[in-house]
Symmetry: C2
Subunit: 296 residues, 2 copies
């Protein structure tokens, strides 16, 4: 069974009825599992997280789009979080047996659906049509209010839909990205500089692993410091390699790892890789997990 995840953000965080209706629209698609809905009043924004087979995720996302484009009018929208559209950002995330190419195909299919409805669309991250559009923050610069001017700039011609301002819908960013793993390692010291030096060393920016973002955090309550990380591609920069590198760097200061935290959801494959490494079970596969057979 192929599993794709989608985590769309919509520009409405106060109207509970609208958000519940959107959740129902997603759930109504057979084979879709809605994992989470969270709304933020100050951001005036809601996030949905659901998964299923790629075609079904596409269908559910279209249902969500239909509802959101009908109900949300961006011309009156206020909120603390940067935003450009009613359906603001739609990342598709391959979870199981879905290649990036397949996910990009789904993203493009969804983008052209939105375009045909008169919504300008920018593709970002792995779905980006050009390197300048990879980064969501670049695309979102100036937000909704900048769109009337931005859409006239040939450099910002949309990837789908009309190159003209749609006052009610705004613009939607549609992307594909790898599942992100939030992984924090707590060090048995109160010296923040140790965590800071390790974070700088392990992150891509500082010359470290390509798919690691890291900062040092002081956990005063616990009398510890933390290397707080996002692993943006667990298959190329696996959890265990990060763990062992942090451990060995810490040991250089005479500091040991007190504990660690995997925050939020992770794909099964990332865990199997951990077991494969530490048990030296080189041939161990996901299919050997009994429960995985029920996903087939």
């Amino acid at each position: 069974m192929k599993i794709l995840m989608c985590v769309p953000n919509i520009s409405e965080g106060k109207d509970k009825k609208l958000v519940a209706g959107a959740a129902d629209a997603i759930r109504a698609v057979e084979g879709i599992k809605l994992l989470e809905v969270s709304s933020d009043r100050d951001h005036n924004r809601s996030v949905f997280s659901y998964l299923g087979e790629p075609e079904k995720v596409l269908a559910a996302t279209k249902k969500l789009a239909d509802l959101v484009l009908k109900e949300i009018d961006m011309s009156g929208h206020r909120g603390d979080h940067p935003r450009m559209g009613a359906l603001d950002v739609v990342p598709f995330i391959p979870v199981r047996q879905v290649s990036n190419d397949e996910a990009i195909e789904i993203a493009r299919s969804f983008g052209s659906y939105l375009g045909a409805k008169g919504v300008p669309v920018y593709y970002y991250e792995d779905a980006a049509a050009s390197p300048q559009r990879k980064n969501l923050a670049d695309i979102r610069k100036g937000q909704y209010e900048a769109l009337p001017v931005k859409l006239k700039d040939p450099a910002w011609a949309p990837d789908e839909g009309p190159a003209s301002f749609n006052a009610t819908a705004g613009v939607t960013a549609v992307g594909v990205r790898f599942p992100l793993i939030a992984f924090n390692i707590n060090l048995d010291t109160t010296d923040l500089s140790v965590a800071d030096r390790i974070a700088r060393g392990i992150r891509h920016l500082g010359g470290g692993y390509r798919h690691v973002r890291a900062i040092a955090v002081n956990l005063e309550d616990k009398g510890m410091v933390q290397v707080s990380m996002n692993l943006t591609n667990y298959s190329k920069t696996p959890i265990h390699r990060v763990m062992e590198t942090v451990r060995s760097e810490a040991a250089c200061y005479g500091v040991s790892v007190a504990s660690a935290e995997v925050v939020g959801p992770v794909p099964l494959e990332s865990l199997v890789a951990v077991a494969r490494f530490y048990l030296q079970a080189h041939d161990f596969t996901v299919d050997q997990i009994i429960e995985a057979n029920l996903l087939k």
Copy 2:
């Protein structure tokens, strides 16, 4: 979602049509996933492996029993493997969110179903009604041919069904056991005595871990030796503890672990425990695995 597994053995390994019919009967129960069917001509015996929610596994096992009791006549059975009945042995195995007590309830319900059909039943392992009946080998002593006499012995009065010989059906052993994990560790030496000393030390019989059975195996082709193990309760004697103990014992002889093998299927929880240990992620749970949400 609760998941129970069942791995019945039937006394027919040659009649392909009968075995295919039995597989169909199991598959016909909605919500049941048939993982494997394997037949052995010399043993004249077939093994089915399937899983699903407990009540559905019970239903599928009844369907299997109906067919097997109708089609197999033990009075003419020949085969190399020890056996007592047409439906020879029926172990129920808790995989996910099923307690031993729940599994025992299912086993008892199935046993009484068989008993009502006139088949004498012995409960074994965790479903055993007394310590003398825990061990399947003890129950099976003398095999089918010994049943006419054995069933008259008050010490071997069946747990369900009549205390009289059923020539066509024989006797069925119904049990509950924990999922067994086959785990082999390969050592980078040709000295079998190293593996042998480690196997003797780590297994329950030799004073080692309660839920470990272990032997030493010579892997001549690979120029290595192996500690070959069955872990009979991964929650009480977890994989990582066995791994690290073998590693440290081997190091005492200057020998290192070359690789390891997890053979066959394992429950997800056993793997999560491995990650929890090696990543020191004390609070990591099965529910954090994205795919696990699809099992709910």
